[in-house]
């Protein structure tokens, strides 16, 4: 037994090492003074300075943020409506709808991205920020709905009825009771939606138009152009830290939701 247990411990550590050591190495070497990716010579911020001085990075970061914000807001509204529909009402086709919600999570992103692009071309919709946003929303609503639905399954509807007996109409009940009690779930779902949009490469790549780049696209174009470089390391670390920050916020929101 003891042997098995210590083996499991070592195995777990190995898995995490395998998963995270490349990322840790990337972050460490982003601070390397020399161009080498093998030998760490001196601590330096010069690659970061280079990244910061690059206007293309700033433009891409700005694009990523506003696309993420629009995607998050629209996905939240649609996802909340969907979650409310499937948890509160019974209607024909409900089970089919519930499995349809999961499809974008299950099917390969590349297939989704490709089919979206083909649809845009077929319908003659010019590629650009709008098509990127639609593409992000198309799979973000699934995640938002799943998170919200999990929260709303145990939702006690009688608090809304209580509000109505106290003189609140439907609108007042929604904004003063329903929305605030769902707030932790909305926050968690929103941060998840934003992170997914912020990190997305494949879909953005297939649905964007000339000149419109998000941060992952810029990173990818650097990597495609010149392979790995310290500048790319620092740019990726930069993007990583932003996603990481949102992940922390989300975990905190989820913990609050569990309470």
């Amino acid at each position: 037994m003891k042997v098995i247990r210590s083996f499991l411990k070592i195995f777990t550590v190995m898995v995490f090492l395998f998963l995270y050591s490349p990322i840790i190495a990337m972050v460490i070497f982003s601070f390397n003074e020399s161009k080498s990716l093998a030998v760490f010579t001196n601590f330096s911020l010069k690659w970061y300075e280079k990244v910061i001085a690059n206007p293309e990075v700033w433009r891409a970061l700005y694009n990523s943020f506003w696309v993420g914000a629009v995607v998050t807001i629209i996905s939240l509204i649609l996802g909340l409506m969907m979650a409310m529909a499937v948890t509160r009402y019974s209607f024909t086709g409900k089970t089919i709808l519930e499995s349809f919600i999961l499809i974008p999570i299950i099917i390969p992103e590349i297939a989704e991205a490709l089919s979206l692009m083909m649809m845009y071309i077929f319908l003659n919709i010019p590629l650009g920020p709008v098509t990127v946003i639609i593409g992000h929303i198309a799979f973000d609503i699934s995640f938002v709905t799943v998170v919200m639905r999990a929260r709303m399954v145990g939702y006690d509807k009688s608090i809304e009825e209580a509000a109505r007996t106290l003189g609140a109409n439907e609108l007042q009940t929604f904004f003063r009771i329903t929305l605030p009690t769902l707030y932790p779930a909305i926050l968690a779902a929103g941060l998840l939606a934003f992170t997914l949009s912020f990190d997305d490469l494949i879909k953005t790549l297939f649905t964007t138009g000339p000149g419109f780049k998000t941060l992952p696209l810029v990173i990818w174009s650097y990597a495609a152009r010149g392979g790995v470089s310290p500048e790319l390391n620092s740019l990726s670390s930069f993007a990583l830290s932003i996603s990481f920050l949102f992940a922390i916020f989300r975990l905190r929101a989820e913990r609050r939701m569990g309470r």
């Binding site: 608090i159 209580a162 007996t165 007042q172």
Partner: protein, 355 residues
């Protein structure tokens, strides 16, 4: 003379699919009355309450509050208060905000809201807890917040849906007394839904007993206990009852499988049941001065504290007798003993058999 009714239901029907939850219910609830809807689960009592609140729309019939037809008026315009089974306190608000919610909806000035909340907190004995979060309160305290929140708006009627169900016995007993006191103090009609007859008997001025969506009887606690309208009410109310079916022979005499039983009342005809409460029955080796006397064999004698419950076999029918009094507790007839069981004719009541 016209009496003021706070709530009137006229021929109210509510169906859920093919199930008739409320079946032509007629009720007139008096002003400032403590009125209970009592019945087994699924009898339609909660649906009836929700119809009064407007949370459920009746398929047929009329709901009136103080003489005004409110059948088509939405809940939030009805000026009723409601305490829910699982309290339904707002988890994202503290005690003060919970109680003040109804007053805010009525757009009262801030100062008045503060004053009113303070007043009601005093009545429910929760002074000083305004800033507590709901999950920091005990079950009994949460109960009081729910009550305060519903009462602070000065509702025309307060509806309570089994609010004590979640509390343990001791707090429940305490809250029963308190609820009745609060009701007297605030002078509001309370309509109380419960499946627990002790709660209904303890607090109510009148009780409506329901079964299968229909009202079986409406009356004061004493009335429904001693003068049940049918066999269902007789067996539902009280700890135990003896019901013997038979046929009216002549005025006050019923022919049963035990033989003739002499009863106090009569007017009924045909098939009836005779009801005898166990505490009105005497049991001894030899009994004098009773109208109905039977010989039986003790099957079981159960000591229940303040009385002994006997199960006596009389010609194949099990008869329940409750024997009170200290002098009797020392002398218990063991199973197998032959005893006499008897009662006076005004202790046996003729009631219709519930169809």
């Amino acid at each position: 003379m016209s009496e003021v009714y706070s709530v009137e239901l006229e021929n109210v029907v509510k169906r859920f699919g093919s199930v008739v939850a409320v079946d032509h219910v007629n009720l007139k609830i008096r002003e400032n009355e403590f009125f209970s809807l009592l019945g087994p689960s699924g009898c339609g009592k909660t649906t009836t309450l929700r119809i009064i609140a407007g949370l459920e729309e009746p398929d047929e019939g009329i709901v009136k509050l103080y003489g005004k037809d409110v059948t088509d008026i939405p809940t939030y315009k009805r000026n009723i208060g409601m305490v829910f089974q699982h309290l339904a306190l707002f988890p994202h608000m503290n005690v003060f905000e919970n109680i003040a919610f109804g007053l805010k909806m009525r757009k009262l000035p801030r100062e008045e809201i503060k004053r009113e909340v303070k007043r009601i907190l005093e009545i429910v004995k929760l002074e000083g807890l305004e800033n507590r979060r709901i999950n920091q309160l005990s079950g009994g305290q949460q109960q009081r917040v729910a009550l305060a929140r519903a009462l602070v708006i000065n509702p025309e009627v307060l509806l309570l849906d089994e609010p004590l169900g979640a509390l343990d016995l001791k707090i429940r007993q305490h809250m029963m007394v308190e609820l009745k006191n609060i009701q007297k103090r605030v002078k509001t009609t309370f309509i109380y839904v419960t499946h627990d007859q002790t709660e209904a008997m303890t607090m109510s001025d009148r009780i409506a007993i329901m079964k299968d969506g229909r009202i079986q009887q409406v009356g004061a606690p004493l009335e429904v206990y001693y003068k049940p309208s049918n066999t269902f009410v007789a067996s539902f109310i009280g700890e135990a009852v003896n019901l013997i079916e038979g046929e009216i022979k002549e005025n006050g005499i019923v022919d049963t499988s035990l033989g003739v039983i002499y009863c106090s009342e009569q007017s009924a005809k045909g098939k009836v049941a005779v009801m005898i409460r166990p505490e009105n029955v005497e049991i001894d080796e030899k009994i004098d001065g009773v109208d109905n006397l039977f010989k039986g064999i003790v099957q079981a004698a159960i000591f229940k504290g303040s009385y002994i419950e006997y199960r006596v076999d009389i010609q194949g029918i099990t008869f329940i007798v409750h024997k009170h009094g200290e002098e009797n507790l020392g002398k218990i007839y063991p199973p197998g003993a032959t005893v006499e069981v008897g009662w006076k004719k005004n202790s046996s009541l003729i009631i219709p058999v519930q169809s």
